[in-house]
Amino acid sequence: MNNDPLIIAGREFRSRLWVGTGKYKDLIETQKAIEASGADVVTVAVRRVNITDKNKENLLDYIDPKKYTILPNTAGCYSVEDAVRYSRLARAAGVSDLIKLEVLGDERTLFPDTAGLIEAAKILIAEGFIVLPYTNDDPIVAKKLVDIGCPAVMPLAAPIGSGLGIRNPYNLKIIMETVNVPVVVDAGVGTASDAALAMEYGADAVLMNTAIAGAKDPIMMATAMRYAVDSGRLAYRAGRIPRKLYATASSPIEGML
């Protein structure tokens, strides 16, 4: 897969599987699962430090920022103001201008508030951020995000943590045909076949958290996802055969008795 790098905003990524770091049992399991996934982009959340528990271990002691691209997110932000504030804090705490921008619209679905998303993206892009927006599977919104300067779009496959798989493959395909930047399918993947399908449809990468962290064996699932994303990508590049209603024999008729 080495001759097929993913390039976003001039940065080259070796893996097309991106992973979140939430919901794991502990930091050791987080570290092992991420290693097994082969991912080089790792999303993290921005939160108040625990000032009462001084011995609380730091995530970055387990996920080496020299080895991984740390992609902070604005998870949990329901307003433009919060998302911009968290983004600025993330940049101050981190080492890069990358932000996975989430402006959520509703606690039950965690669907993006796409109007707020576009507004927040404009503010952050003007401040020099590289904004990777978590968006709905809406091609028009995706195009608007690209038009204002997002170097990639990250449409959902299904609600965050739902494991429902790709609910609207046709919209995702339209997004891939509409925008001229990488499309990272983000959220909703349940198992390996969902990830493979996303890549077969032509996604440039897949981002997931719960599908791995919530599996009975997260490390084994991380490995499965790594193979799925690689397989899906290879199948996409190889070009699948067209679907036909009737059989076509694989063995020649000639030479039969």
Partner: protein, 75 residues
């Protein structure tokens, strides 16, 4: 003097620098971001910046995420 640190009232020595506060809390300066009264303090100013009575300070770092089950709101 009293400051508000991560939403909780706290008594600290007058003229305490941000760097000293982080040291007291045993936090690595290169792992956190500090916001004072809604403005981010550049890391290069941690050692020289002194806190004032009534300052509202937020110290944040990266944790595992993922959207949380119970979303956290800024106040």
């Amino acid at each position: 003097m009293r400051i508000t640190l991560n939403g909780e009232s706290k008594e600290v020595a007058p003229d305490l620098s941000v760097g000293s506060l982080l040291q007291q809390l045993e936090l690595q300066p290169d792992r956190v971001a500090v916001e004072i009264n809604l403005s981010i303090l550049d890391r290069s100013k941690f050692t020289t910046w002194t806190l004032q009575e009534g300052d509202r300070i937020e110290i944040i770092s990266f944790i595992g995420g993922g959207s949380p089950r119970h979303p956290v709101h800024c106040e």
